[in-house]
């Protein structure tokens, strides 16, 4: 009989090392290398010019596999957001706000929204990318400063 105490329920995570999930794989390495340099990298289709989500391997429009990493301008606006008051883990400080931003290039990215009172953040607010470590012992991530 297992001696594990299941009475409160246990947090079973995926991982910790899963290629393509938690770990970068060749198609996403350029994004995380950019984060380490302090540059927000997205993909661009060399054939049709469409900007694409960092993970893409084929262009979602013309299906070309000739994609290149390009540095995003790092500016955009909030498409939607949510301020979290109940965190997945009690050790996390609340509140904090995550959202989806639409970059000027037309690519949407998920990230932390900073620099403005949570209650004052609104859809359509303009944002600029920055790089910050959000948690002790973890590397910098792109975060979005709300104007």
């Amino acid at each position: 009989v297992s001696e594990i105490d299941w009475s409160e329920g246990l947090a079973l995570y995926m991982g910790p090392y899963e290629v393509g999930l938690t770990e970068t794989s060749p198609e996403t390495a350029g994004y995380w290398e950019g984060v380490r340099r302090g540059e927000l990298m997205i993909k661009r289709c060399s054939n049709c010019g469409r900007h694409l989500y960092p993970r893409r391997i084929f262009c979602s429009d013309c299906r070309s596999d000739d994609l290149e990493w390009v540095k995003a301008r790092g500016t955009g606006r909030i498409y939607s957001f949510s301020t979290i008051y109940r965190a997945p883990d009690r050790s996390l400080e609340v509140p904090y706000t995550n959202g989806i931003v639409e970059l000027d290039e037309g690519v949407y990215l998920f990230g932390r929204l900073v620099g403005k009172e949570h209650e004052a953040i609104a859809i359509g607010d303009e944002v600029d990318v920055e790089f910050q470590s959000l948690f002790p012992g973890e590397g910098a991530l792109p975060v979005y400063r709300v104007q």
């Binding site: 947090a11 995926m14 770990e23 939607s80 949510s82 965190a87 959202g99 859809i123 959000l134 991530l141």
Partner: protein, 407 residues
């Protein structure tokens, strides 16, 4: 309206419903036992031997029981030798998706009887709050920011409110109506808490803006195991209270919510959006197959774990126009006494969300058989069932009927 899929209209039926429900005070069992007990119950009711079962379809593996291929576990334990079997892995939509594959298999004469099962002991084994966000999140591009499941759905909610102006009171009314059904259902999680008011919802703690506590589903404290036997309409005619599968549809738009915004050029995302879900496409397909529309539905059961999503589903499932949800609710569209019977066991908000649970589908079957455990909708003939999973990522819709001789 086209009639795509019309050859499958009422071509299959549910002829047995097996159940095993573990409530808050009951002993903990494994999710494997939960589903097996439901499967055996269904086979007993249908009078079938394991050799009669030609197909086994399951939902994805329960979060509380580790298995790479869940259908293999079920087949292995029951010593069934299916000629067609799979996990249906379209997130939470897969549990209802099992009926769709079963219907296709029996309607085409490929097999005689299909067994479909689902269920999970959920929080009795695992911390669902911690793990569910990790299941819903893109682990590389979203999870590093510590999202929660409500906060993903909140992105839809925030945008929906922004574009269509649902008021705090409109959204709260959805929770109030769901609760009114729940207090009359013996298995509903929130039954002991009694009815609630709009003000109760408005006063409840903020979870992930704009969602407050009473905007959110409660995890069902136990397990809801169920299994059905599906056979063709001809065989079903000689069984007791068959429920015919009139039409069905399915639609998947994304795996993770941020990637939903990289989808365009196809319904329901002709333009990138977080306001219209795949339930619109899935329900249109189901209605086309069934040959009738939302105006002919006597009761509807959705898998919406948040108030705003119930409102969006009323739109996407065709009960009102896009953006018309707030007004529909305000004008009594889902009023417990006089509106569309909607989530008649209390829904995810007040019955509770049993992970991998088929409670909404079971409720529809029981209503149409005149065997509702809560308030019976008198004379109900046609029901719509909607299941979904992921952050509104994958949707299954099935419309069922108790009318005989439909074919």
């Amino acid at each position: 309206m086209s009639d795509r899929g019309a050859a499958l209209r009422n071509a299959a039926a549910v002829t047995a419903l097996g159940m095993h429900v573990v409530g808050p005070g009951d002993d903990r069992i494994s999710s494997l036992e939960l589903q097996l007990r439901a499967c055996v119950d269904a086979m007993n009711q249908a009078g079938l031997d394991r050799r009669d079962i030609g197909a086994v379809f399951t939902s994805r593996a329960p979060m509380s029981y580790t298995a790479m291929e869940w259908n293999m576990r079920i087949v292995n334990e029951l010593k069934i030798v299916p000629r067609l079997s799979s996990e249906i892995t379209v997130h939470g939509a897969g549990a209802l998706g099992t009926w769709q594959y079963a219907a296709m298999a029996v309607a085409n004469g490929l097999i005689d009887y299909a067994l479909c099962c689902s269920g999970c002991m959920g929080r009795r084994w695992v911390d669902l709050v911690k793990i569910n966000a990790a299941v819903e999140a893109d682990l590389q591009f979203e999870q590093p920011y510590r999202p929660t499941t409500p906060s993903f759905y909140a992105l839809w909610a925030q945008r929906y409110i922004h574009e269509f102006g649902a008021s705090r009171e409109d959204l709260a009314q959805v929770a109030v109506e769901n609760r009114r059904w729940a207090v009359r259902h013996p298995n509903a999680s929130m039954r002991p808490k009694g009815e609630i008011t709009v003000q109760d919802v408005i006063d409840s703690p903020m979870i992930a803006s704009p969602l407050q506590l009473l905007d959110c589903a409660a995890w069902y404290d136990g397990g809801f195991g169920s299994a059905v036997i599906i056979t063709n309409a001809e065989r079903a005619e000689s069984t007791d209270k068959p429920i015919f599968i009139s039409g069905f549809g399915q639609c998947t738009t994304h795996e993770w919510i941020t990637d939903r915004m990289a989808l365009w050029g196809i319904e329901p995302a002709v333009e990138p959006n977080l306001t219209t879900t795949g339930a619109k496409v899935a329900s249109q397909q189901a209605y086309e197959m069934a040959g009738f529309g939302p105006e002919d539905i006597d009761l509807a059961q959705t898998s919406a774990p948040f108030t705003f999503l119930n409102m969006m589903m009323l739109e996407d499932l065709g009960f009102c126009e896009k953006g018309g949800g707030p007004r529909f609710v305000r004008e009594g569209g889902i009023d417990f006494e006089s509106g569309l019977p909607f989530n008649t066991n209390g829904g995810y908000l007040s019955f509770g969300q049993a992970p991998n649970g088929m409670h909404m589908a079971v409720e529809a079957l029981q209503q149409l058989r005149g065997e509702a455990l809560g308030k019976q909708v008198e004379g109900a003939k046609r029901a719509l069932v909607h299941f979904h999973g992921g952050p509104a990522a994958a949707h299954s819709v099935v419309v069922v009927s108790n009318e005989e001789g439909l074919k």
